[in-house]
């Protein structure tokens, strides 16, 4: 895989009238799959569309595959694939017709029939775009993004509104793209999607990146984790606390049910197990609760509803 980042955004500012959509955003995406997460109105689409060359930054710099998306659009566009959040197809065009057309704009396109088969678009037949189901429209837009054999694909909410089968088909395709060395930048509301697919996750809120890392890093960092076990009631929690690192807390929540809160790592697990051994306690139903990306997301962006 290449070492040079596929996307480099520095200090991006984008305003619409008096509203600042993107407010000094920095983002470096390496080869692989990068998920951009954020609440509605966080600036995800504006950021992605600036990378695609649709919007001119008010300030800051954007480089995609080392190119300026506005000034070097002619060089960049053949190398990227774009799936818009919606639309992009003639309302009177059939799915295969539109896909064949986009293929014709590229020098070495994928085999259209194979791609149609792969994404289950074969059943669309002679139906025109406006009469396709939402899921079929989404899959067609995805197919249009990859048919030109791009190096980098931008997918703006590729699975929004898809049924589980179609969602998994989309995920499988993204995994195959990644395995073949195609980089993917995708925006999503689905934490599971980011956890499943992404090498890297950037969480955006109010026009800035507020967290960036692998899903594991994000789940580990920041939020504290929880370890629970069941034992004899009335164990000496004070003595357990002494054995634990200083920033941990321990409590008997209900008789016999214990909870340790802190940075849960193998070392901590070993400490608790060895304390139990010393006290002749068989820790029953010992469990570690990891924070999901969703916990991290809500912790960082708050729980109140966004417009």
């Amino acid at each position: 895989m290449r070492s040079e980042p596929v996307v480099q955004v520095q200090g991006l500012v984008k305003r619409y009238g008096t509203k600042t959509a993107v407010d000094g955003l920095d983002l470096v995406a390496e080869a692989g799959v990068t998920a951009v997460l954020g609440p509605n109105g966080a600036g995800k689409t504006t950021t992605v569309e600036t990378c695609e060359g649709y919007r001119r930054p008010d300030s800051g710099t954007v480089r995609v595959l080392g190119l300026d998306p506005v000034r070097q659009a002619r060089d960049l566009h053949p190398r990227i694939g774009v799936m818009l959040q919606s639309g992009g197809v003639y309302s009177g065009a059939r799915a295969d017709e539109m896909l064949r057309h986009v293929a014709k704009l590229h020098a070495n396109p994928l085999d259209v029939d194979t791609l149609i088969e792969r994404l289950g678009l074969g059943s669309c037949g002679r139906t025109t775009y406006r009469r396709l189901s939402g899921g079929q429209q989404q899959r067609l837009a995805l197919a249009m993004a990859v048919v030109g054999r791009p190096e980098l694909v931008f997918l703006d909410e590729p699975t929004a509104g898809l049924d589980p089968q179609a969602r998994h088909a989309t995920w499988d395709l993204i995994r195959d793209l990644r395995a073949d060395g195609v980089s993917v930048i995708l925006t999503t509301h689905y934490m599971e999607e980011a956890e499943q697919l992404a090498d890297d996750v950037a969480i955006i809120d109010a026009g800035r990146v507020i967290a960036h890392g692998s899903p594991e890093q994000l789940c580990r960092g920041g939020a504290e984790n929880t370890l629970r076990f069941v034992g004899r009631p009335g164990l000496d929690v004070g003595s357990l606390l002494k054995a634990l690192p200083a920033d941990c807390s321990a409590a008997e929540l209900t008789p016999g049910s214990y909870r340790v809160v802190g940075k849960v790592d193998p070392q901590l697990l070993a400490t608790v197990a060895s304390w139990c051994a010393q006290h002749g306690v068989m820790p029953d139903r010992i469990s570690v609760e990891r924070h999901t990306l969703e916990d991290v997301f809500l912790e960082l962006t708050g729980k109140e509803l966004r417009s």
Binding site: E52, G53, Y54, R74, H77, P78, R79, I80, V82, L84, S86, G87, G88, V89, Y90, S91, G92, A93, E97, H101, V102, K104, L105, H106, A107, N108, L110, T114, M144, V146, G148, R149, P150, E151, R175, D176, L177, R178, A179, D180, G181, V182
Partner: protein
Amino acid sequence: MTTVGTGVYTPKPGAAPLSRMIAAQAALETKMLLRNGEQLLLTVVIPTLLLVLFSSVDIVDTGAGQAVDFLTPGILALAVMSTAFTGQAIATGFERRYGVLKRLASSPLPRWGLMTAKTVSVLVTEVLQVILLTVIAFALGWSPHGNPLAVVLLLVLGTAAFSGLGLLMAGTLKAEATLAAANLVFLLLLVGGGVIVPLDKFPQGAQDVLGLLPISALSDGLRDVLQHGAGMPWGDLGILAVWAVAGLAAAGTFFRWE
């Protein structure tokens, strides 16, 4: 996650040759137009019906000579307007609304290539219209005169003028507003542009203004050549050239892609 790929998607990017992209785009645009019922009504059915109806039934006093000799140049002008202005405005307005223009803007096809393809598609449609209407006109006893080069020049400049105005409308108004306005303008110019009703039926003051419209210049110029065998109708060509330059410049400045 799998790390070994099948190689199917291994990047191999590249744009197709420009000529191939433009040809493909023009073919698709033409196909979309010919598939659309409302567009066909506007570009084929209405001009044909008007030509046949007004040539065979004496509804409007078209002056001396055969009605078909007066009507055919006007209907040809109407055909150009229906495709280059009304049809193109409505189609492009909805392409803009549904993100087609946006999606194509990030494809390897440059924007000027897309506009070139649109023009090719308009010209192809006009050629089909002219063939159809000419055949029908001959069947109705049409006897044209004049310099074919002057006719071609009028049709091309008329196309440029109407395309500029159609794209200006499509690129600035909402799709629904474009749909309504383009149809309204079509209807008004059909009546007031010397297409089937001679301009001299209007009061003198109105005639002076109406005569400056692109549809009047086109129908009048075509009539001068085809009915009266005039040489180059420079006045009408001049009016069309001014509309073409102004319309295309305004469209180029104000057109919004999304």
